[in-house]
Symmetry: C2
Subunit: 227 residues, 2 copies
DNA sequence: CGCCTGGTTGACCCAGTTCAATAGCAGTGG
DNA sequence: CCACTGCTATTGAACTGGGTCAACCAGGCG
């Protein structure tokens, strides 16, 4: 009933290459690789959007800041995810590598040019944007109306769906990152995780420090915790 | 510095007719009108998305519900706004007329068909979706990290930008609607408005009951209140 | 006029924040 | 190999912004 916040209901292109290489437009856009160190910025909010990125390995956070330092993480990008696809000329988030991360990148312009002539590429762009929109819409509900426990449970289920086939996962992000994603403080996140652990919905493997988490979806589902 | 949450930075199609009637595709999609009574549902979440709508006059709220009744309004749609444009086959929100509202509507399918062959229509669809995404992203920051006063101030500025040239506006929605949009309770919204009134950032004209509001942008801006 | 709906205001309460102490690891370098 | 430093995470205790509950008030309308 909960499962799959970032609905993959619509089939979507899962690689930049898929986006660029189609039907007759053989102009496959130039791909290069790059590696960012843990904690380093990939691009800043309001910077001109020159590239579109796909995570090859690692993890990325994208966020907005208020001038007094309050931070809201809008999304985590994991292996396979495409990000930086603002259509408009500026990035609307700052992005940073959460751990050492390598990305593939494409010039935005070349992508747009291809999209102009290739309807399929255009459709894929729209579909990706729609997926992002859907995620943001669901996240608004979470941020506006869910309790701390519901938020953390939703987060675990989302990550479980994205990080692994099922069951065990190594969360790359810190408690603070999780908190800023969920609109909470890191203490509240920690407490919620402890509670879920007590209740047995959740196990820790090699204990502590960027943990491996074992998730019991059924237990979690049977807790109350809104869709 | 705050001004324009729903950035109109990108030029965007401001009518369904704009979307359908372009270059060579003379197949202008069929337009019809319809009027919804105050409070009536236009479509429900998870319903098949058959039409795309544009508000001719009136106002619409679109929201998600949790099973226990908690509600999050994702957006208000005012005269000129297009909504119901989920690309995907289901609506992701429930929408209701806030006051008596007339809309124009287009079959989604015919729009999609046109988009298939007309790059400009396709681009407009993408641009509209991107605008929605941007609004949602900004709203996540508001819901996750802003104080009640900041939220209400942001709401007033947004509405001021959308409802009128500047200064006076008649809010069509109730305190409860505003609260569910901002992730607050109606009492908190009421208190915040009172505080802004005391401080002189805000005046009421024909007093109370779906008020006309007079907004002093400068006063509001000079209060603290994050971008 | 009297009901009904929506808005305001007050008093109290609590979920989540803030502040603070403690502890587990990961380096680092002697 | 172990001491030392610097994280990050957990947990407790006290505090508070916004929620809850409740009284009251102002129109609009039959």
């Amino acid at each position: 009933m909960f499962v799959r916040i970032t609905a993959d209901s619509t089939p979507r292109p899962n690689s930049l290459r898929d986006l660029g290489m189609t039907s007759d437009s053989n102009a496959l856009v130039s791909l290069s690789q790059f590696t960012y160190k843990k904690g380093s910025e990939i691009y800043g909010e309001r910077e001109p959007a020159e590239y579109v990125y796909q995570v090859t390995s690692g993890a990325v956070r994208s966020y907005k800041l208020l001038s007094d330092g309050r931070r809201q993480i809008g999304a985590f990008h994991l292996a396979g995810d495409i990000f930086g696809l603002e259509n408009g000329n500026e990035h609307r988030f700052t992005t940073e590598a959460i751990v050492d991360t390598t990305v593939r990148l494409v010039r935005r312009q070349s992508l747009e040019m291809v999209a102009e002539s290739d309807a399929m590429v255009a459709r894929n762009l729209l579909s990706m944007t729609t997926n992002n929109l859907q995620h943001a819409e669901d996240h608004m509900l979470l941020l506006g109306r869910k309790t701390s426990l519901e938020r953390v449970a939703a987060f675990l289920l989302e990550m479980d769906g994205r990080l692994t086939a099922s069951g065990v996962m190594a969360l790359p992000m810190s408690r603070r990152d999780i908190a800023d994603y969920l609109g909470l403080t890191l203490e509240t996140v920690s407490r919620a995780l402890s509670r879920l652990h007590e209740v047995g919905a959740l196990g820790f493997v090699g204990n502590t420090q960027r943990q491996i988490v074992l998730l019991d979806r059924h237990k979690l589902a049977s807790l109350d915790l809104q869709p």
